[in-house]
């Protein structure tokens, strides 16, 4: 692997009161890789993502952003969003919400350009002025993706973000993500239950099971293996 490592999990373990979620997890992620994180519900996928985001203190081991002590910009697209049809903001305004910091309340010309650029990258330019509450499920997911990307992250986490989409929209969104992954060397962690999609888009996989974790090149991941892992308590 010629690309540098950007994230390293060392003997990582998270235990909730009387309930170990996972233990001794070791994983090194290099820039530009596309990982699928699979495993049944409750096995700790989202907990792992929270540990990676430093939102949860691990019980053992550590999550290191590399080079050691460095910072990693992470874009995160969660599974759920509380946005109903009355939600007033336009897609452009929604994407711009992620531009925070101790700055003026209004967006600078440079920030407007950054948003316009990411809207173009995600195919949302024509929809920029549409209230997001009136957008379709696929358009909303693209807007969530654009919001996560607007600060130019090195690592993008899709936390079951495609779960509620129909197959065509799901493919459209992941085609977009893989294109960004290949063109910009954006590292991707794709948390999913969809094994065919994981096999189509990822380069590596991490499977969490109640008995432990398994990882490797995506060619080694099969639906049968996932079922077997889920039974393996």
């Amino acid at each position: 692997m010629t690309e540098p490592a950007i994230l390293k999990l060392e003997n990582l373990g998270v235990t909730f009161p009387n309930h170990p979620v996972f233990t001794d997890l070791n994983l090194t992620i290099h820039q530009g890789e596309f990982w699928s994180i699979v495993g049944k519900n409750g096995v700790g996928k989202t907990t792992l993502m929270r540990a990676i985001l430093h939102q949860l203190r691990p019980t053992t081991g550590k999550v290191a952003y590399l080079p050691d002590g460095g910072s990693l910009k992470i874009g995160y697209v969660p599974q759920f969003r509380n946005i109903d049809s009355d939600y007033p903001l336009t897609i452009k305004d929604f994407v711009g919400l992620n531009l925070t910091g101790w700055k003026w309340p209004w967006l600078s010309r440079k920030e407007h350009a950054e948003i316009d650029h990411i809207l173009a990258e995600t195919g949302l330019t024509k929809l920029a002025k549409r209230p997001i509450g009136q957008a379709s499920g696929g358009e909303r997911q693209k807007a969530y993706l654009a919001q996560a990307l607007v600060e130019s992250p090195n690592l993008l986490i899709l936390d079951e973000s495609t779960a509620s989409l129909d197959p065509v929209t799901k493919t459209e969104l992941l085609d977009l993500v893989i294109e960004l992954n290949q063109r910009l060397h954006l590292t991707v962690l794709f948390v999913t239950h969809d094994i065919p999609m994981a096999r189509k888009y990822s380069s590596q996989y991490l499977m969490l099971t109640p008995a432990g974790a398994e990882q490797g090149p995506i060619s080694g991941l099969t639906q049968e293996k996932v079922w077997e892992g889920e039974k393996n308590v």
Binding site: Q55, N82, P88, D93, L97, N98, T100, W102, K129
Partner: protein
């Protein structure tokens, strides 16, 4: 009308209130906090009654009670599933306390009415000045934390996963609402504050699709309601809060109707 000093003061105070309520209201609506705002206004009533009992200006009693309780409410209602119940309990307690303080202060029902429903006659130039300083304080804090507050209010999930200090933001915002409630209560009264803190912004939501646009429209609608309400109250001698409530409610129902027509098309 403007030859009377009390009307000049009322218009100055009304303008300040409309601006502060229009801006804060946009965040109140985005955060689904109309009910909590209503509770803070009841706490404001209790605080004003306590102020009278303690021999202070009612505004100071209001400030004390609303600011302290906003922090408590913020802590108690951090979990959304218990927010309504916790808010109802606090609301009931404070209305009771307000009545107790009024009774202890030996004030009659008309005094309670003026705290609850507001009054244009009692506003002095020094009241206007105090309201102005409080409003400037609120606006400065909003200006400083604007981007964080906007993100957290309009996309709480996104703000949380980004690691923004959402709990601190939530309590800071409640304190700002408490200050706004105390300011606005001077004219519309503590029971009707939520009119100006919710209806103009709720109406604006149907027409403007950027946060800035919603603020401008909400401030405009609040100003229209307050100015028209004060003028009609002066001409007819009926309560100003009735006119403000009626005007803002009409705007809101028109907006709802317009929205219905739009979605039907």
């Amino acid at each position: 009308m403007f030859s009377y000093e009390f009307m000049r003061n009322a218009f100055a105070a009304g303008t300040i209130i409309a601006i502060i309520c229009g801006i804060m209201g946009v965040f109140v609506i985005a955060r689904n906090m109309s009910f909590l705002t209503h509770t803070l206004s009841e706490i404001g009533f209790s605080g004003a009654a306590f102020g009278v009992f303690a021999g202070w200006a009612p505004l100071n009693g209001m400030l004390l009670f609303t600011v302290v309780s906003s922090v408590i409410v913020g802590q108690l209602s951090a979990r959304s599933e218990r927010r309504e119940a916790a808010t109802s309990a606090i609301s009931a307690l404070f209305i009771g306390l307000g009545i107790l303080f009024l009774s202890l202060a030996n004030k009659n029902a008309s005094y309670a009415t003026s705290i609850l429903f507001g009054s244009v006659i009692g506003i002095s130039a020094s009241d206007v000045q105090q309201m102005l300083w409080l409003s400037i304080l609120v606006l400065i804090v909003v200006f400083i934390i604007y981007r964080f507050l906007k993100f957290d209010s309009f996309d709480h999930t996104g703000a949380r996963v980004k690691g923004l200090w959402t709990n601190t933001l939530s309590i800071t915002f409640l304190v700002l609402v408490a200050l706004s409630v105390s300011v606005a209560a001077q004219i519309v009264g503590s029971l009707l504050i939520f009119i100006l803190l919710t209806l103009p912004a709720a109406t604006a939501k149907y027409f403007a699709h950027t946060v800035g646009g919603m603020m401008i429209l909400a401030v405009g609608l609040a100003l229209l309601g307050v100015w028209a309400g004060l003028t009609l109250s002066y001409v007819t001698n009926y309560p100003v809060s009735f006119f403000i409530a009626a005007i803002e409610a009409v705007f809101y129902f028109l907006a709802l109707g317009w929205q219905k027509v739009q979605t039907a098309e």
